[in-house]
Symmetry: C2
Subunit: 355 residues, 2 copies
Amino acid sequence: MTSSVFKRCSGNPMLTPAQVQPHRPDFEVIGVFNAGTAWYQGEIILLLRVAERPVGWEGGDTRIPIFDTETNKLQIKVIDRTDGTYEFSDTRAIRLKSDSPGTFRYLTSFSYLRIARSRDGRHFTVDPNPFLFPNTPFETFGIEDPRVTQIGDTYYITYSAVSPAGVGVGLAITKDFVNVQRQGLILPPENKDVVILPEKIQGKYYILHRPIGKSIGLPEVWIAESDNLFSWGNHRLLFGLREGKWDDGRIGAGAVPIKTKEGWLELYHGASKRNRYCMGAILLDLEEPWKVLARSEHPILEPEAPYEVDGFFGNVVFSCGVIVQDDEVTMYYGVADTSMACATASLKDILSCLS
Amino acid sequence: MTSSVFKRCSGNPMLTPAQVQPHRPDFEVIGVFNAGTAWYQGEIILLLRVAERPVGWEGGDTRIPIFDTETNKLQIKVIDRTDGTYEFSDTRAIRLKSDSPGTFRYLTSFSYLRIARSRDGRHFTVDPNPFLFPNTPFETFGIEDPRVTQIGDTYYITYSAVSPAGVGVGLAITKDFVNVQRQGLILPPENKDVVILPEKIQGKYYILHRPIGKSIGLPEVWIAESDNLFSWGNHRLLFGLREGKWDDGRIGAGAVPIKTKEGWLELYHGASKRNRYCMGAILLDLEEPWKVLARSEHPILEPEAPYEVDGFFGNVVFSCGVIVQDDEVTMYYGVADTSMACATASLKDILSCLS
């Protein structure tokens, strides 16, 4: 494999769908990926995105789970795969053939958040029940890609809330990873890949986010500020695509930024125009985080291992969180929209590959 | 014409491009429309959207004004109209033929804000110079469709900030309609049609906005809340399209909501799928403005007069502001993306057509 700043952990993939029980017996787990991370009471927490679908999905019908806010239950919508109206070429989503590229009508699986706990950061025990399960009008298609920021004794969880109304950004808070309170949508559609910086800087909180509009604009990373973590303003474009490079298709924040002497170190994902998702790094000014100081020319990790190349949606490494111990960064990352893996690097080595 | 709640003023169109000098002699004014409104020192202010383009645009080239943030000047981009790469069917915007429908690469004109003043609300004097002219990276394609909310002695102006980064929502404030201070983007792309309610309700400010995402979701009206008018959170879908009706294509807030005994009266625009823009009315709960109490079944004004039907972009009535005196509402509105007109109705009559 290409020499990479990050070294893969020996037990990869660390957590696979086969190791996770579905939330009900007539469903199957098809993805355990894109987990947020936290330290809590001496344990490492992975806040997993678990994707499920009804058993028997492989038949002639596509069965789509949708949360129904009137009955507070999952309803199954059945779409005949021979119905010429629909387009099934993307394993993740279903379009109408008449729709524009890049749009979708339904997702093919249903995601929610679930906790896994570990003492050593390698062997995880998955909680038997969901931690955050869709139950609002903005989550009827699912909850995806959490990031966790600890501020004091409170953990702030951002996530993608997906529904026919759009893909918005939900915020939920917990102090114990048992009880959790939703705080509504902190950013309207369409937005995702949101990380909150872990402390106030000159009196303001900062957030990185990735809006994407219909009529003009690219999937790039923005920064905004807040007094209170719930309301956000002063939105500014922070960093963009790089034409002809590995991150010229779409980018988004990955892990919660790491505070270093040199600046805020953000590990972000970048995809090429052909949807190959790599991880890169960027350094933001400590006191003025809307200023970019340096950026990795090459990926710090790219999909090369078999479990990264093949899967539900292949050629993807996608991190939503790291654990830092002294100089060592353990990056937890989703692979091929299927499983979880991890890789380690020293802070020093990551910083030295920025230019 | 169809009987309508609103009666057109006799001097319509009230203000046309021929009555406005361009901001420099090699440009021409092609639109004076979609004005926000305010009372200031006994005068009625129209905050006009003025659209200009370089003289000679009708030739073989399309000349596109773009604000350049490096030189702080307008640069003219020239596109050969015989270049088969581009698509010119929309008078307002230029696409690549390979782009998806509903997207654009350039606008065909360049908009900024300019003030007109009147004692009687019918005869306006246009200021000789621009009031708010693009000068940030988010405004390089122009500033559009202002709404003005007075809170105390301060006027809060929301506007569409258009650039290759997207269509975001800018906020600027003034106390005298001479000096004006930008407050950055209060909502990220893609969003427009933003009105701030004129007072706190149970300790919070409220805003109506119209996000539109790339992958899923419709152009519908949302509500959000704030402690300070600069940062916004708790985004919720407020009201949507109505299939088969006049407002089944796209909707957006129009005038700043009017406080009545029955509730907050919002005059909004709704377009059909064929892009015919009408005005309608909706009533929101006084204490819980995220609750819709009633909505007009039919338009309260629809494009029927010749100056509404024909123009730069025809079949459009589009209001960004009203002036209320006792029971009478004077609605100022842009017609055909070309000129300004006005129409009057009693509050009582507007409220009585809601169901």
